[in-house]
């Protein structure tokens, strides 16, 4: 997953990433066998052979491995295989370099145009296929994108190139971007040209997304949409791969996403979720992008640049709120500076506040939509009920996972004695889970009760040590036949499938409040276990008896049980 960022190949003498240097077409022919790659190291281009010279983070002025002739950005596509390896390493470095870029003062905006013109359009290795491949995995879990990345390295390059081509929008954006974050723009362009490796794929995807979105407006919104995919990508990447992925995600984001502020929020959030480190890197790009995006909302590109810097300084803030706050700060400040009138300032501040508020709301709505998609059979339209359902679903999911893991642990521990109880137990569990899963809120009542005792019981399995594992066996069937020796009890439990588990759980013994302690059930189990053999017969015979309505509450069972014992 490190392939997010393609290697930069620059001429050897590029000491600093500067537009001029980027502009320069790679002239020196690079021997096919050996491709020198210019990597961004700490914002500095470093020459590196594809065979992976050591990467050194050198200060901007240093050239590493200098001597080789400048590698050609386009050439790499041919040698992507080698490159990929190096790319991976490069990416790592580039990750850090990204940070340095952020701080890098951007240079003329024109650079971007030229840059793009030269590189984007002419370069066109044929990578169209990648566009599709990259487009597909965007939301996919990590593993998938990795494959496509590696395979069509050349394809990706072409795809990237092609993606960059279509557009004037991209050029336009880059102009904007360049004004704000020139480094990124260059970077993205550069990547397009050079690296078809995996990371570039994601980036190309991202860029495509952004490009598409940007068509609408240079504002943040469209980009944010494009970015939505990105965050998922980066999130998934981060989750799966680790730093590399993050680097890719972040770099891609930074490169493509200049204007997406909202995404940065999503990205940072996602990144944070996946791993802290990702978050750190994401934040770098995110903070800069939000600044840009918010700035874009406002006029004055130069101000944006300045704000960018400020934002970069504030990189630490990873939260969406922080970002929105920053944006708020930035915009009002700029506005104030420009206007100079207090009244306008206030109104502007309010406006900005509204904007940020709206953004925040949009983010929340988006997340709610995503949540809604995850929840099966969720047809609620209002937030509150949807959240309610989400809560229930989450609980049931947790329960299910617990039961399944318990089952996994239990199976090896199955005791012959409990066999007879199993089916009913299984049924009960299945029913319980089915109910929990998605039968709807109507049945929730039955389930909600179970929730209470269950955690207690289920917590047991989670405790487990080797010794506990032994308890698991009896315990699992336990709920079913936990009932104390009285024959009717077990039978009573069985019919109440949804409650079977619960009922059994609760029905330890008439005398004991089953909820009271965990240790009790254990003791009971152990004790009961002895009695298991005789019990099954009892239960088998006694099944038909009291069949409590499954919808009965646990309390009923509990109450009935003690008296009825």
């Amino acid at each position: 997953m490190n392939h997010c960022v393609p290697d930069f190949e620059m001429d050897d003498d590029y000491s600093i990433l500067s537009s001029s240097t980027l502009n320069r077409p790679r002239k020196s022919p690079v021997p096919e066998d050996e491709i020198m790659e210019l990597l961004w190291q700490n914002g500095q281009l470093v020459m590196q052979s594809q065979n992976q010279r050591s990467f050194k983070k050198s200060p901007p002025s240093k050239h590493q491995d200098g001597d080789q002739s400048a590698s050609k950005e386009i050439r790499p596509s041919h040698h992507h295989h080698q490159q990929q390896q190096t790319v991976t390493d490069n990416l790592f470095m580039q990750e850090d370099e990204m940070a340095s870029w952020l701080h890098y003062p951007f240079n003329d905006a024109n650079f971007d145009n030229d840059f793009c013109a030269d590189i984007l359009y002419p370069s066109a290795p044929c990578v169209t296929s990648i566009a599709t491949t990259t487009a597909s995995p965007p939301v996919r879990p990590i593993e998938q994108p990795v494959e496509p990345r590696h395979l069509p390295v050349p394809a990706s390059a072409s795809a990237v190139a092609s993606s960059s081509r279509p557009p004037i929008p991209p050029v336009r954006r880059t102009e904007l971007e360049s004004s704000r974050i020139p480094n990124f723009a260059h970077f993205s362009r550069h990547k397009v040209r050079t690296e078809p490796s995996g990371p570039s794929n994601s980036k190309s995807v991202v860029r495509e997304l952004t490009v598409v979105d940007s068509c609408d407006t240079p504002a943040v919104v469209p980009e944010s949409r494009g970015f939505r995919a990105m965050p998922s990508i980066s999130n998934t990447e981060g989750a799966s791969g680790g730093n590399n992925n993050n680097a890719c995600g972040t770099i891609a984001i930074g490169a493509a996403a200049v204007a997406a502020s909202t995404h940065s929020a999503g990205v940072s959030i996602g990144a944070g979720a996946s791993s802290r480190e990702n978050l750190a890197t994401c934040e770098l790009t995110v903070t800069s992008s939000p600044g840009c995006s918010s700035a874009s909302a406002e006029p004055a590109a130069p101000k944006v640049a300045a704000e960018d810097r400020k934002r970069k300084d504030r990189e630490a803030a990873g939260d969406a709120e922080c970002r929105s706050e920053d944006a708020e700060f930035e915009s009002p400040n700029t506005k104030k500076q420009s206007r100079g009138s207090t009244s306008t300032k206030r109104s502007r501040a309010a406006e900005v506040h509204n904007l940020s508020e709206r953004r925040r709301r949009d983010r929340i709505n988006e997340k709610m939509r995503a949540l809604q998609e995850l929840i099966p059979r969720c047809n609620k339209s209002d937030k509150a009920s949807m959240l309610d359902e989400a809560i229930e679903y989450l609980k049931s999911l947790q329960l299910q996972v617990q039961m399944m893991s318990m089952g996994c642990g239990m199976v090896p521990m199955m005791f012959p004695g409990v066999q007879q109880f199993m089916p009913p137990m299984g049924m009960g569990m299945g029913m319980g889970m089915g109910m929990g899963m998605g039968m709807g809120m109507g049945v929730d009542m039955g389930m909600s009760r179970p929730m209470m005792p269950f955690p207690n019981v289920l917590a047991g399995p989670s405790l487990p040590t080797a010794a506990a594992a032994a308890h698991l066996g009896p315990r699992f069937p336990m709920p079913a036949f936990h009932m104390p020796p009285p024959a009717p009890d077990p039978s009573r439990i069985q019919p109440n499938q949804p409650d079977a588990m619960l009922g059994s759980l609760g029905l330890q013994t008439p005398n004991q409040p089953w909820m009271s302690g965990f240790a009790d059930p254990y003791q009971q189990y152990l004790g009961l276990h002895q009695m298991q053999l005789p019990l099954p017969q009892n239960q088998a015979t006694g099944q038909p008896s009291s069949s409590k309505p499954s919808t009965s509450k646990d309390a009923e069972n509990l109450e009935n049980h003690p008296p009825g014992t």
């Binding site: 959030i269 996946s274 939260d319 989400a390 999911l397 299910q400 996972v401």
Partner: protein, 90 residues
Amino acid sequence: MSSRRSSQSGVSRISDDQIIELVSKLRQLLPEIRNRRSDKVSASKVLQETCNYIRNLHKEVDDLSERLSQLLSTIDADSAEAAIIRSLIM
């Protein structure tokens, strides 16, 4: 500003509290956020964490199902355990 807000979102105001409460409930369920200071977590973050958590749980369920089916193959199909496992896998 507050007046403006209320005028703009009169209805949502009411449900805002519900949402806040639900979000806090959700937060309790999430393992990660629960351990942190919960007063500073934003709704969007909670939602995001929830989505991620649900996805993780889905994945876990799949893994467990796979494991259970593997286990199922190792034991005789008529046993009670098999029945249980089948029910678990659903």
